[in-house]
């Protein structure tokens, strides 16, 4: 009951966002379904006339379907050099091809040969036979394929949030990130209801058409087309700048601060597109001009993007200078001044367990490499300044390492499924779950200070962006942790949190 109440409350608070995301979800799903139909149905018809090439082509569609949906979404970003709705729709369409294609082919092929012969023997042309006899008879089978694809699309579309295409997946991803069931349910339940609703509409359409008239099918197609094409008729002003951010409260707050500062001080129109699943996703988006600026950590820029290791014991300033130089030389990018807080990686474990085992530093883990289970994010497990670094610098290799999404690992350590995790120093979770940060006694982790990263051309086009340097040196660790807590646990709007901070600290005089 508590969960249902929480979902209801969240719905009350997030109504505007809910309707926007629902609309995005519907729009994206219908667009993908229409693409899949317009490709698969004619292709299926064509293949039913060219049986020799049918099996290889249907086989190819089947191979496409075996690609994990998330991988397909990621692949589309690279292929299309773009993020957001387009790659999502393309990936979803590709995903939905097979059921429609196979059912169209099968439906037409399974028309009784005697009936086909009757049609031909009475003097129907191949096209007339298709239109008058075979298609009407195949409609129920084709519709079944379309319904399968529809459910597939509506479900998979929740993953599109990861490549910034929006939709109900935004709620689900936020929910996973914050370990908040209410958010997950607010995304998942409407997505499921949406799938049922579409299925219902299609079933009614099929019943009305009775495999006879194509009119109901056509009218539903047209309605779907109108919905899909709706954004073409609304004129949205294109913003001057798009500020990106990785998934999580902190990047979203920082990105919003950039927006507020830029909009306050200049005439530029700015929108925030946050929620990128990984450093690579955000950096790719910046490379292909999908976003113009995003806050990147100095340490991440060094380790993940430049693949350099800062000299042991480097100061924050030295690391920043090294990263700035590297980004300029290797990528032609401008790296403005970093903020004060240092969201370094940390290894964290339950306070109580740490006390029992007497663990204070990372080195103290050594006797327990066989017994304790590590819970690392995919990114940490792979980064030079992550687990490979721990193996190099500390010489520790853990027997049991579980990799999981960042939103899940705090819960995993809290419930005792894992014993220690990688964490971000400023995470609100550290406060909430009473976790102890183990001292990085061999200085593995470089400083991680957020700073605006953009292309040289962006800076040249908008020299006013220099004003972002005003944020340099702002925000202490405690302040950042506090703001993260506000968003993650009090469900505050990141944009408002950012504005409040700026107002309280005299940015808008």
């Amino acid at each position: 009951m508590g969960t249902i109440q929480a979902v209801a409350d969240l719905f009350q608070n997030r109504q505007n966002m809910f309707w926007t995301l629902l609309w995005e979800h519907i729009h994206m799903s219908l667009l993908a379904l229409l693409c899949a139909i317009f490709i698969s149905v004619p292709l299926g018809i064509y293949l039913s006339r060219k049986k020799r090439i049918a099996e290889p082509i249907i086989g190819a569609a089947a191979v496409l379907q075996t690609i994990p949906s998330l991988a397909l979404l990621g692949f589309m970003i690279l292929l299309l050099n773009e993020i957001g709705t387009l790659p999502a729709v393309v990936a979803l369409s590709v995903y939905a091809l097979l059921p429609i294609l196979r059912n169209t082919y099968t439906g037409i092929n399974e028309v009784d040969p005697a009936i086909k012969e009757a049609a031909t023997g009475m003097g129907m042309s191949s096209f007339r036979r298709l239109r008058k006899v075979e298609l009407p008879m195949a409609i129920p089978v084709i519709m079944a394929g379309i319904r399968t694809s529809m459910v597939l699309i509506v479900g998979t579309a929740t993953l599109a949030a990861l490549i910034s295409a929006g939709g109900l997946g935004d709620f689900i991803m936020t929910g996973i990130d914050r370990a908040d069931n209410a958010y997950i349910l607010l995304g998942a339940i409407p997505a499921a209801l949406l799938a049922l609703f579409f299925d219902f509409v299609l079933r009614i359409t099929e019943k009305t058409s009775q495999g006879k008239a194509l009119t109901p099918v056509a009218s539903v197609l047209i309605a779907a087309l109108l919905v899909a094409a709706a954004p073409l008729f609304t004129f949205s002003q294109k913003p001057d700048l798009v500020i990106g951010g990785k998934l999580g409260a902190e990047p979203e707050i920082i990105a919003n601060m950039y927006k507020h500062v830029i909009e306050e001080e200049t005439n530029l129109q700015v929108v925030v597109e946050s929620g990128f699943g990984s450093t690579d996703a955000a950096f790719n988006a910046l490379s292909v001009d999908e976003i113009d600026i995003y806050p990147e950590f100095t340490g991440t820029a060094m380790a993940a993007l430049l693949e350099e290791t800062p000299e042991s014991g480097s100061t924050e300033e030295e690391v920043y200078q090294q990263a700035k130089k590297g980004m300029a030389e290797e990528y032609g990018m401008v790296y403005l001044e970093p903020m004060q807080f240092n969201n370094t990686y940390a290894i964290a474990m339950r306070e109580q367990q740490a006390d029992e085992l007497g663990i204070e530093t990372i080195s103290d883990l050594e006797p327990y490499t066989d017994e304790l289970t590590a819970g690392f994010t995919f990114e940490f497990a792979d980064r030079e300044d992550g687990y490979p670094g721990i193996q190099d610098v500390y010489g520790l290799t853990f027997e049991n390492v579980e990799t999981m999404d960042s939103g899940l690992r705090t819960r995993a350590v809290e419930t005792g499924q894992v014993d220690f995790i990688d964490a971000y120093f400023t995470d609100a979770d550290m406060v909430e779950y009473n976790l102890r940060v183990l001292e990085d006694d061999k200085n593995l982790f470089p400083p991680y200070q957020g700073a605006p990263l953009m292309k040289q051309e962006t800076m040249e086009a908008y020299p006013q962006l220099e004003i972002l340097n005003q944020l340099g040196g702002e925000i202490s660790n405690e302040e950042m942790q506090q703001m993260n807590y506000m968003v993650d646990y009090n469900d505050a709007d990141p944009s408002k949190v950012a504005r409040e901070y700026l107002t309280d600290n005299g940015f808008f005089d």
């Binding site: 009784d112 023997g121 009475m122 003097g123 042309s125 006899v133 006879k212």
Partner: protein
């Protein structure tokens, strides 16, 4: 008129379905193709509407080579009835019947009238059946629709591929009668494939017996039953000979003692009686009674079947009846002739009467 000239068909897998098939199907006749499975009868049929193309030989319809026809137009002119009935399940009865008229671009009104007329012809009330789907009809009703669908655009030729074999015996017999009646009314050329000899004998004006892709015998039902070309035909027909269905021509006596030229009359004895008299150009003059020649009105024709002829014997007390063809006396049928004929038939080994 449909003419087959040296038609052969070899399928891609090497099967020789039809070999050197030549025959002529007359306008307005019901021509039955019959034979065991795989004899090539269906292949031959489907070459008429070019569902199958011959590998050799030519087919002409009304003297025009089939190859010179537009395939679709050709098919609009040839009604096609299938064993599987194969009504279009998504269309109503009305729409099914209207398929070919629509392709021939008949007007809406003309088509609707034609559909009603045809449904009434096969005793399906249009008000009841027009809007129904094929699945709502019984098998017999469906095939009636199948037949009128083929007739819809008034084609000159109707081809029927074992149209009644999937129906129960009662319905089959009913539909056979229907098609026979229809044939006498509408005078189409009908090519009919069957493997059922009873059906062939009941319906066919002529029957073409096939075996292994070739013609074994073409003839009227009577010719096949009474003069089978070989043992294959005899075996296929089986115990089906009915001597009562034999025409009088087969057993009459053209040189009988019962007939005489009028010029011989004075020299003849008074017996045997009766004596039928003709003149020099064979015209029938009458029956001798005493010294007189009197009018005689009980006569039979050479094509009359025996069972009919014996009814005429019942009308008179004569031992013999004159056989007249176009007013000429061509012979006499006597009790003796009938007995003689019966004796001969049953002298053939293995043949019993029904």
């Amino acid at each position: 008129m449909i003419t087959f000239e040296n038609i052969s068909k070899e399928f891609q897998d090497g099967t020789k379905a039809v070999q050197d098939f030549s025959t002529t199907i007359e306008k307005g006749e019901l021509f039955v193709l019959i034979g065991p499975s795989g004899c090539g009868k269906t292949t031959t049929l489907k070459m008429i509407n070019r569902l199958i193309e011959p590998t050799q030989g030519t087919i002409h319809i009304e003297g025009r080579n089939l190859k010179n026809w537009n395939k679709q137009e050709l098919r609009w002119n040839i009604g096609y009835v299938l064993q599987q009935i194969a009504l279009f399940p998504t269309m109503t009865i009305e729409e099914n019947v209207a398929v070919v008229p629509e392709m021939r671009r008949w007007g809406r009104k003309q088509t609707a009238e034609r559909v009603e007329e045809l449904l009434r012809m096969v005793e399906l009330d249009p008000a009841v059946y027009k809007k129904r789907k094929p699945a709502e009809l019984s098998g017999g009703e469906q095939q009636r629709v199948g037949v009128v669908r083929a007739l819809a655009a008034d084609p000159d030729i109707l081809i029927m591929d074992e149209p009644f074999s999937a129906l129960d015996p009662l319905t089959r017999e009913q539909l056979q009668q229907d098609i026979k009646q229809l044939q006498s009314r509408i005078q189409k050329t009908i090519v009919f494939v069957t493997h059922d000899m009873d059906e062939a004998l009941a319906l066919g004006d002529r029957i073409c017996m096939m075996e292994g892709g070739s013609i074994v015998q073409v003839g009227t039902p009577h010719e096949l039953t009474n003069h089978p070309a070989n043992d294959f035909v005899r075996d296929f027909i089986g115990d089906r000979i009915n001597e009562w269905d034999t025409p009088v021509r087969e057993m009459m006596d053209p040189q009988s003692d019962y007939i005489a030229n009028i010029e011989e009359l004075p020299n003849l004895p008074l017996y045997p009686a009766p004596l039928y008299i003709f003149d020099n150009d064979s015209s029938f003059l009458g029956r001798r009674q005493g010294r007189e020649i009197i009018e005689h009105d009980v006569s039979i024709t050479p094509d009359m079947l025996l069972k009919k002829a014996v009814q005429y014997f019942e009308k008179t007390d004569m031992d013999a009846l004159p056989v007249l063809e176009n007013g000429r006396l061509i012979g006499v049928l006597s009790y003796k002739d009938i007995v003689w004929y019966m004796k001969n038939i049953h002298a053939q080994p293995g043949k019993e009467s029904v």
